[in-house]
Symmetry: C2
Subunit: 359 residues, 2 copies
Amino acid sequence: MSEPLAPATLDLTADPVELTRVLCDIESVSGNEKAIADAVEQALRGLGHLDVVRRGNNIVARTRLGRSERVVIAGHLDTVPLNDNLPARRDGALLHGLGTCDMKGGDAVILRIAATVPEPNRDVTFILYDAEEIAAEHNGLRKLAETDPDLLAGDFAILMEPSNAGVEAGCQGTLRVEVRTTGERAHTARAWRGVNAIHRAGEVLRLLEAYEPRKPVIDGLEYHEGLNAVFVRGGVAGNVVPDECVVEVNYRFAPDFSEADAEAYVRDFFEGYDVTLTDCAPGALPGLDVPAAQAFVDLVGGEVFPKFGWTDVARFSALGIPAVNFGPGDPLFAHKQEEHVPVEHIERCEAILTRWLTS
Amino acid sequence: MSEPLAPATLDLTADPVELTRVLCDIESVSGNEKAIADAVEQALRGLGHLDVVRRGNNIVARTRLGRSERVVIAGHLDTVPLNDNLPARRDGALLHGLGTCDMKGGDAVILRIAATVPEPNRDVTFILYDAEEIAAEHNGLRKLAETDPDLLAGDFAILMEPSNAGVEAGCQGTLRVEVRTTGERAHTARAWRGVNAIHRAGEVLRLLEAYEPRKPVIDGLEYHEGLNAVFVRGGVAGNVVPDECVVEVNYRFAPDFSEADAEAYVRDFFEGYDVTLTDCAPGALPGLDVPAAQAFVDLVGGEVFPKFGWTDVARFSALGIPAVNFGPGDPLFAHKQEEHVPVEHIERCEAILTRWLTS
């Protein structure tokens, strides 16, 4: 029992649902991805037709067929913490358990495509990375983009985050500001000698309550912005008129706005108030006009939806690579105790990618 | 150096300004009043004409002359914490230092009257007590009122809290409520699926901003109420539409309102909102119609002002004893590093009390 365990062996000829189950049962909460990365590396190297590079617990496997286009297909290997939801468990049309939805179903599809489509019509770069579920500084894809941007090169990228086996294109940006009101302290028994900063914040909140979101249509997709107070704080003591109140506001902006556009919008919205920018990440345009993207969308056949939340799609976009989310599972069940994925989603994603890369 | 120190000796024949200085230099931050209580007890017992009772660090000294009226003259012995403002220091017309204003100038006047008016025209109860500057549970006057209410008996009481050597009558009550708004959590990227509780608090703050205070006139004194947010808090995470926001509100109410009146007023003001009462202390009516009070006010000669802040005057009022604040020092300098008292205030207070008790 004391000798090191050999890496778990992944059977890439198994059906993708069974492969998902095996991947889920290799526990890989963020920070603990070594075992699953070992198994993935061994399985991909064993295929023989891929160039495999490992950086930490990030695996990049590429075809080298000299095709005119190269596409990237990526997924993260980590999960949020355990919540009494392992091992994974098949129940009819659903596979239940931690990681089934976010996103080992997608990872299984990636490994299946790597194994079963040895000569795709487009060169493919498969990326399986770590630490997506924790602070951005640890994110494996971010690290690869910084240390080895050439490994990420491509004309189009698919991130296999759960999206109900449909295409979600682009993603909205996110920005945070602090809106600060000030006043003058006084004893509440003589409040007229002071100015209440919390009362002044009422107008800030009223503006937010009356906010009408932009819903720009980009490449045929309707985005939906949001401007929300996420925190409010103020107060000195129970008998003191407070001299400061801070409202922390999160702006989710459509990808037709740059970070500078978004900041200007918020500063204009809160004109006359003290506004401090604390955080900003750009959105990503859908970028569906490149041939590989167009062919992919045509194949999926269904509607394309805008991605509202911020995802690693934006990292590809920042590298100049159009990217979409396309993966099995309903994102509403991600990070939940009752996480699950429909078996049919996994099978459909594999079938679509296979057709796209072979037809 | 290791033997117990004898109590500091107070010379009650010294002028009241010098006596104030000596009292200030017996450091007596709340919780550390033993040394000053020892000195006060010894000095009062030494006079010979007073019945002296000690309870903890509270000293009660009474004349027993069989007069038709009994008046109470009280002051607390403790101070707020040191702030590099001891020893006390005379600078022309001002005495500077911790406790000079709040309220050892008043205590010195009490001790001087005790010493120099052995046969007052009204029986007098002198009370010097501890722990006024900290949580009410420790308050020495509160404890005396509970354990020995007979020691506090009287027809009229003067609390020698700083009031610019003028009379401040009655005091306003204080009440706190939490006003809570609720909503529904959602990811801020899809904020339209939730309801933002912080935005809903905007209307609560707008109501407060538009508040018009009552200013009732009672016994010729104009009070001035106040309704203030003293804290606001809300927020779950930087990417979550928050489902709760709490505004903590402090209502300072004139003494024509009972606690029940005050609560009803606030509940009516915030009608439709979730309001929780968290704290309440009643005000005190001026009570200037008793003969001793009327004689005292006539002697002071100047205008009588309403007391806006809550003071221990309300404890006497709760015992059915009309009470006023009358002491040297401007209360605006209490609890400040630059605390000080005008020498003239101390002298004037002593002169007025002497005339009132001897004429």
